[in-house]
């Protein structure tokens, strides 16, 4: 971990999924610190911190099926708040439903990825995310 690097925020209620994601990033030797939010409320609490001047993440991985406040509502608030609107949000969810995809893009998500069940594919996806959003993509920091 390098505290000089911008963090990555993972919004995920499933401990297993969170752990697997972190492991996938670790395999890619990702150095950015990982921030976690386990429900919608926790995710939105970050906005206050960014408003207070804390360093925002280079991207946010957002699950849709969240306790308390749904992932789509979190997305809506992230994208409608100036403090977080510019942060790339990658929806990483089990649902491949048309209406979820449409709604997520309508609310301003930057990418929509269906979580694969198979471990190898999941590793591949995490790796691709890290390559694209962490290395290739220039986030407006």
């Amino acid at each position: 971990m390098n505290d000089n690097l911008s963090p990555i925020l993972i919004v995920e209620d499933r401990l297993a999924d969170l752990d697997l994601t972190k492991r996938a990033f670790a395999r890619r030797h990702l150095l950015n610190p990982i921030q976690e939010a386990r429900d919608g409320e926790e995710a939105l609490a970050y906005i206050k911190r960014w408003e207070a001047g804390e360093r925002p993440p280079i991207f946010i991985l957002l699950d849709l099926g969240l306790p308390k406040i749904s992932g789509l509502e979190v997305l809506r608030q992230l994208k409608s708040n100036p403090a977080s609107a510019a942060i790339p949000v990658i929806v990483l969810t089990t649902s491949g439903e048309d209406k979820d995809v449409h709604e997520a893009y309508r609310l301003g998500c930057n990418s929509y990825i269906v979580k694969p069940v198979e471990f190898n594919k999941f590793m591949e996806v995490a790796s691709q995310i890290e390559i694209y959003w962490g290395a290739l993509n220039i986030a407006p920091l």
Partner: protein, 577 residues
Amino acid sequence: MDPVYRKILSDGLQGQLDLHSDFIDLIRFPEPEYQTALHDFLASKYKHQPIDLVITIRTPPPNEFTTLFRNGLFRDVPVVYIQRDAERSDPNSTGVYYDYDLKRTLELALQLQPEAKQVFIVFGSSRVDRNYGERAKAQLTEFGNRVELNYVTDLTMSETLQTVAHLPPRSIVLYMTITEDSAGNRFNTTDSLDKVTEVANAPVYATDKVFWNHGIVGGHFMDYQILAAKSAEMGLRVLRGEKPADIAIEKADPYVTEVDWRQLKRWNIDEKRVPAWAAVYFKQLTFWEQYKWRVVGALALIALQSVFIGVLLVERKRRQRARQALDRLNAELEERIAVRTAALDAKSRELETFAYSVAHDLKAPLRGIDGYSRLLLEDHAAELNDEGRLFLQTIHGSTEEMSQLIDDLLEYSRLERREFKPNLVELGPLITTIVEQKKREATETTIDFVVNVNGGSVTADQNGLIQSLRNYLDNAVKFSGKATNPRIEVGAQETVKNCLIWVRDNGVGFDMKYHDRIFDIFQRLNANEEYPGTGIGLAIVRKAMERMGGRAWAESQPGEGATFYLEIPKLLNERQS
């Protein structure tokens, strides 16, 4: 009188009647020389004409007739007298008699004019006139205590008329007769009456039927025809052989009391005052009396029509009410249907959400199972023996299988939920693309793919169509994989009504008795180990086709390969446009 006698006597004698009428004019010509001459004249007139019966009229015995003719010409002839009393004049005679009655006329007048104060009794100056006047005086004196009796007599005609034209109010005029005035002018008595009634300023009454319809209000009339009829009947008995002496002298009531309705109106006398014993004539019926039944009929008709109209109106109202009730009922029904539909929709959505959530929530733990079994295999391989590694492989395989099952179920349920969007699909490029994709996926097999599409396009739900073709191809690949020279042909053909697409393989095929069952969800004909699959693929195809009004079916023989068909109606094009 002639007609009365002629009728009764002629009828009684079967027509054998020889009737003669002669006037002896005893009252107007009472002179003995004339009467004697008349007797002699009649004697010579009837010299050769034997007379069987004599009936005397208006010559009540005893008089010149009884003394002169009864002793002369008619000495042996039976006579029927119209006489004054019940006494038989002679043995060879009989007769009818009546009471002379003037009182009833005045009683009638006083009933009609109860307020009357004076009565003016009018008669002329001739012997006959005076005779009537005397009779009046004799009979009416008794009324003197009720009314003032005045006798208008011994005047010239003009004086008489002057008098009756200027009578005091509440007067009654009783006309007896004027055949001659004080100046010696002779008159027909009815003509005199006409003059009197024309000028009189009070109602005029009279006592003889001959004055009827000459301007009088009415009277208790002596109707001579009644006496004539009675005497004729008596004469008939005599002619038939009865002895006159054996025929009792009868009393007759020759009076009729009559009132002229027009005169009541003229003098403004209330018709209700007419006593029951008087008859009213010349009554002009009022409009109501005249047209009573027509009016009643018309009213009844109108009433009937009104009733009809009423009934129709009521009927119309009832129909309106019924229609309103029906409308209300329909509205209620629609409302209930809407409520039920909404409830059903809600239930349906709830079920979809449920299926969707179940499927998704089933997938999430799978990822953990697969992920950690993989991590175990990769990071802790050294700590596991072969069996342990085999177990982890099995866990992985099962996870994959379950993941596929969940994906298929999601697809099946999504098909139901997804909005149906028909669009024009070019069959050639679409089929080619799908086959090419499948070729790439199925690299390890040596299947020969043949595309046999001769152009054409169809309006269909593209997602559904692609999904159906993919599932058919998956199926074909799976079941032809073990054939010696596996071959899959995809074809399309347009007919008039439909677009037919088929996927043909030379694989294991199936028994036709299962041709329909294979399209049901979770229905499999083979062991999972041999031909893995979820049993959902063909169910998805059938559902997709049903949604676009098409059909999905298959034909096969075991070991001979199978052909799977899609049929999409072209009608869909027109329906959508």
